[in-house]
């Protein structure tokens, strides 16, 4: 494979991975956190906090 193409493909995959985390972080900020492992979500309801 052309070395340039090889490097471009690698850079594209790395950027895609970084983009994934950026989008994930933005989405979570808007709609409340959820655990990727168990799917549990936390409400942003203030009433639950520090009661």
């Amino acid at each position: 494979m052309n070395p340039l193409l090889d490097q471009l493909a690698v850079v594209a995959l790395i950027l895609a991975a970084l983009g994934y985390f950026a989008v994930r972080m933005l989405r979570k900020g808007k709609s409340g956190k959820s655990c990727g492992g168990c799917g549990s979500g936390a409400t942003s309801d203030r009433r639950f906090r520090s009661k």
Partner: protein, 702 residues
């Protein structure tokens, strides 16, 4: 109130004709009814406190009209004691912003415990919201010899009463019809309060800035609060609180206790309802079976034997039954890596695909069978009602270290994942007890630690039998439990000092597990695990590969080890090496520890990438052999049994989970507690691994 409802002036057009709330005592089948009506898969279980937040779903009435259904956490009364109970109260009183006041309440009642369940019904009837009583578990009531006269119950309550067996789908057509009925009038019957009290309630209700429908209920709740609780009320101004206190004083002068009088009135009313509609039969047979089982499972000695035995059986199955599918996945991953190497020209892209992506993701996917078996057993324990018994035997120990008995369910949930465990602490009334439980919950060994344990056990004792392996894994779970109890004791004696209240826990009846439900939960957890492997772990594997590959050394003939040392990841590992050297770890293990801060299971795939081999999983011989063959500069092996044991202890005690940090931040409404938690757990993990490694060496072990 009745359907269809007009569009609010300020909001968008309502797409649903009615808002329906499901309320009831804990563990009476609310979520089962919610799931059956909406087709959703909200978690259900045979123990109190499964639902701790409201859940919404959509369903259709008997004429096809869309309705929104709200599943509320279980509550014994509207006089709340814990944050989860407050959710139900606030929704029903229209206090919760963004949530519509329900048009109908489906009040789920456990027919086998009618008298106790009717207390909440009595309070619902005081709210002026149409109520439909779903009389669930009538089959259990019949088995217990209880006879309920439905006609008399309907007449006494003045609202529709639908007999149901929610787990078998009985009664749903009638329930839909009852909820769809139009018009659906508000209740006309409720417990009669003493006249003097009623007068004060109505006078106070007029001064409250709430909707007229809920004013009486709100006033009654205010009048039944103690002075301290009244001072903590934040949703009313000072003038109303003072007016309430004055009214309470007037009532006391008139010889009426404002706190106990409404309770007495409701129980008196319940007595008349039960006298007419409830006939307790001979429940000797059912009780004796339950009692006989409880005699063993909650016994001081046999209870513990049964508990440890069940856990040991679970881990034994995890090691034996899961081995075959794990081998299949292992072979599949190896084949895919080989195929990639054969078809992609040599270069960075080939390395990224084969070693980074396939090695990294494959190294985590291989644990799917073990995760499924873990959730199969947990599902059975939840469905049978054993969880409440386990909480009971644990309470003897937990109360000694100052942990609230209700902490057990959150701690047990944390064995699967700390996130639902920490959310389940909402059932704990006292803030300090809740905080202590949140602080120690991540010490329970969650399913993400499983991969690390499996790798280390295989390295530590390569020739061990499945029973021995299960024994070591069980001991790791016990280390987490003991550490949690010890830290809880420390916190209760220092930071969060306070008395430990007595445990009052409802023992649900033993039931046969719902196999459909257990398998469904396994399936869901399996899908979530795979989704995580295909998203977070995949992206992390790519970034890890980049960190372990770039920058490349200038020398063309550099060895893989030199190239790794030159990379960002390698330099990071070297930077923290002085801190972890006393634990027996080298810089390569350091890379794994740093990389797995976000998620513990990443440690395995990182090790696979670090050791630069094709199959980054624990069962493939190359990784195990390579790790076993790894030597220090003086020629001694790195992964000695002491190092492996120390690493396992480190992972038992370390935080290493970014999702847990986020959830603790949310639940405590502060960064102080999650940061404190990271700090104390990291120090504890370091000390634990240090004691194991250095102590073991002092005793002559390797």
């Amino acid at each position: 109130m009745s359907a269809p409802i007009s569009t609010p002036a300020s909001g968008p057009a309502r797409e649903v004709t009615r808002y329906v709330a499901i309320a009831g005592n804990p563990n009476c089948g609310k979520s089962t009814i919610f799931n059956a009506l909406t087709g959703l898969r909200q978690k259900v279980g045979n123990y109190p406190g499964v639902t701790v937040e409201k859940k919404t779903g959509r369903f259709f009435g008997s004429h096809g009209e869309p309705m929104e259904l709200l599943d509320l956490p279980g509550s014994y009364s509207l006089q709340v004691r814990s944050p989860d109970e407050a959710v139900a109260r606030d929704v029903l009183l229209g206090r919760q912003p963004g949530v519509s006041w329900p048009d109908v309440i489906i009040c789920v009642v456990d027919a086998s415990n009618l008298e106790r369940n009717l207390y909440l019904v009595a309070q619902m009837l005081e709210l002026h919201i149409p109520v439909v009583v779903a009389l669930n578990m009538v089959d259990v009531a019949e088995q217990n010899g209880v006879v309920i006269d439905l006609m008399a119950l309907r007449e006494k309550l003045g609202v529709p009463v639908i007999p149901m067996v929610a787990t078998k789908g009985v009664g749903f057509i009638e329930l839909r019809q009852a909820v769809s009925r139009s018009p659906l009038p508000p209740p006309s019957i409720c417990a009669q309060m003493p006249i003097v009290l009623e007068r004060e309630v109505m006078a106070l209700a007029k001064t409250l800035p709430v909707a007229p429908e809920v004013a009486r209920g709100e006033a009654l709740l205010l009048l039944t609060l103690h002075d301290k609780a009244l001072d903590e009320v934040t949703h009313h101004n000072r003038a109303i609180i003072d007016a309430t206190k004055t009214a309470q004083q007037r009532l006391r002068t008139a010889g009426i206790d404002p706190i106990s009088a409404p309770v007495d009135a409701r129980y008196e009313w319940i007595g008349t309802v039960c006298a007419a509609a409830h006939h307790a039969g001979d429940s000797h047979h059912a009780l004796s079976i339950s009692d006989r089982l409880d005699g063993w499972l909650t016994h001081r000695v046999w209870g513990w034997v049964a508990f440890v035995g069940m856990m040991a059986l679970m881990f034994f199955c995890i090691f034996t039954v899961a081995q075959y599918p794990m081998d299949w996945i292992d072979n599949g991953v190896a084949w895919l890596a080989d195929w990639t190497k054969a078809h992609v020209p040599e270069g960075d892209l080939q390395s990224l695909l084969a070693d980074g992506i396939i090695g990294g993701v494959g190294g985590v996917i291989i644990f799917l069978p073990q995760i499924l078996i873990l959730f199969f057993f947990l599902g059975i324990l939840e469905d049978t009602g054993y969880m409440a018994r386990a909480a009971f035997i644990m309470d003897r120990l937990m109360s000694k270290v100052g942990l609230h008995g209700k902490s057990f369910v959150p701690l047990l949930s944390s064995f699967a994942c700390a996130i639902p465990g920490i959310m389940a602490t909402r059932t704990i009334e006292n803030r300090k007890d809740r905080l202590v439980t949140i602080l120690v919950a991540p010490l329970m060994s969650c399913s993400a630690r499983l991969p690390v344990y499996v790798v280390m056990i295989a390295l530590m004792l390569p020739a061990a039998s499945a029973l021995q392996q299960a024994g070591i894994m069980l001991s790791m779970y016990l280390v987490g439990l003991v550490a949690a109890f010890a830290m809880a004791w420390v916190f209760k004696k220092s930071l969060l000092r306070g008395d430990t209240p007595m445990l009052l826990l409802e023992m649900p009846p033993y039931r046969m597990p719902s196999w459909h439900g257990v398998l469904l939960r396994m399936w869901e957890r399996g899908l979530l695990f795979l989704r995580r492997a295909g998203t977070v772990i995949l992206a992390l594997s790519i970034l890890l590969w980049a960190l372990l590959t770039y920058p490349k050394p200038a020398e063309v003939d550099a060895t893989p080890s030199q190239a790794l040392a030159h990379s960002v990841g390698g330099r990071l590992g070297h930077t923290i090496e002085p801190v972890i050297a006393p634990l027996g770890y080298d810089w390569k293990i350091g890379i794994g520890i740093v990389a797995s801060f976000a998620a513990r299971e990443v440690f395995v795939s990182t090790m696979g990438q670090v050791y630069n081999i094709e199959d980054a999983d624990e069962t493939s011989e190359p990784l195990r052999e390579q790790m076993r063959a790894e030597k220090r500069p003086d020629g001694t092996p790195i992964f000695t049994p002491l190092v492996c044991l120390g690493l396992m202890v480190f992972y038992v005690l370390a935080m290493q989970c970014i999702s847990t940090v986020a959830i603790v931040r949310r639940e405590t409404n502060s960064w102080r507690w999650p940061l404190f938690q990271i700090a104390y757990m990291t120090v504890l993990a370091w000390l634990g691994a240090f004691v194991v490694y250095q102590g073991g060496r002092l005793l002559g072990f390797q």
